[in-house]
Symmetry: C2
Subunit: 153 residues, 2 copies
Amino acid sequence: MGQDRIELESSVGYLLKEASSSLRAAMDAVLRPLDMTVTHYSCLELLAQRPGLSNSDLARGAFVTRQSMNVLLHALERDGFVTRPAEAPAGRTLPVTLTPLGRRRLEQASTAVRSVEARMLRGMTREEQSHALHALQRMVRSLHEDDVPRGQG
Amino acid sequence: MGQDRIELESSVGYLLKEASSSLRAAMDAVLRPLDMTVTHYSCLELLAQRPGLSNSDLARGAFVTRQSMNVLLHALERDGFVTRPAEAPAGRTLPVTLTPLGRRRLEQASTAVRSVEARMLRGMTREEQSHALHALQRMVRSLHEDDVPRGQG
DNA sequence: TGACCCATGTCAGAATTCTGACATACATTC
DNA sequence: GAATGTATGTCAGAATTCTGACATGGGTCA
């Protein structure tokens, strides 16, 4: 019968979704004691690697809309983890930076997240991990080709 | 000590999230003309492969809560794509089945989704695809080991 | 039989995220 | 200089999803 039907268990798309979902659940589990979510962590991690990123930059990096990132940033700012200048140094972009408190917070979270990633990757050789990495990169690239940039319109 | 920070671009976790996000966006884009979402499609696809699945089964298969799946099922039922018996044949589980209309709907969606998956996989050899598939399966398994079953508690 | 545990369907409320819209700032073009 | 296009931050409302809670059905085990 449906020979051409996508077999869910052997569909890369389905597995991608399952793996991503499992990873998110595992990360949420280890982050919960720290009172953080994956998006919290992503934002902080992004800022540690590239200080001065804007709200829109962070949104793209965390795969949410800039409106969502904006409410997150306000919470992080209120809690003293990040800072934004009152006025834009140039244009409208407000560069966000980690505070020392935010950096300490990130260190805790980073340790927890690293343990999850290590757990996910255990049982795979260095070479297998590299292959998986490149396969994922290739999929992302293929998906973005001849693709309209997403956003608000 | 200078614990090597997770380099986002070379982190399997980050790539996983990015790939999953890109795939979802691409699927949403091709499904939008059909007035469907990824969750819609997932539900229908699941039912085509295993008729009679319960609400909870579908929720697990689509990676959402059973409450979310329940509202979706009501919409699909209202639109005539699926059917549920008024009373449970056994226990409390209500088996859901596709209607002929739902099956036709799925065919359209399935064609669109297949094109996206093909686009994602283009440029990868059969062997590379197989490697990626098994890598993903392994990650999911590792993540689920010594893990509490998720749910409502 | 009865106590217990687990899974299911469902209701209600909260939290999160998204869509739509607007004004502003800069670059490009005429 | 003026018009246009793109990108940003932000406000407001809607839609979606989740968390919490409850009663029911069925299995296990004493």
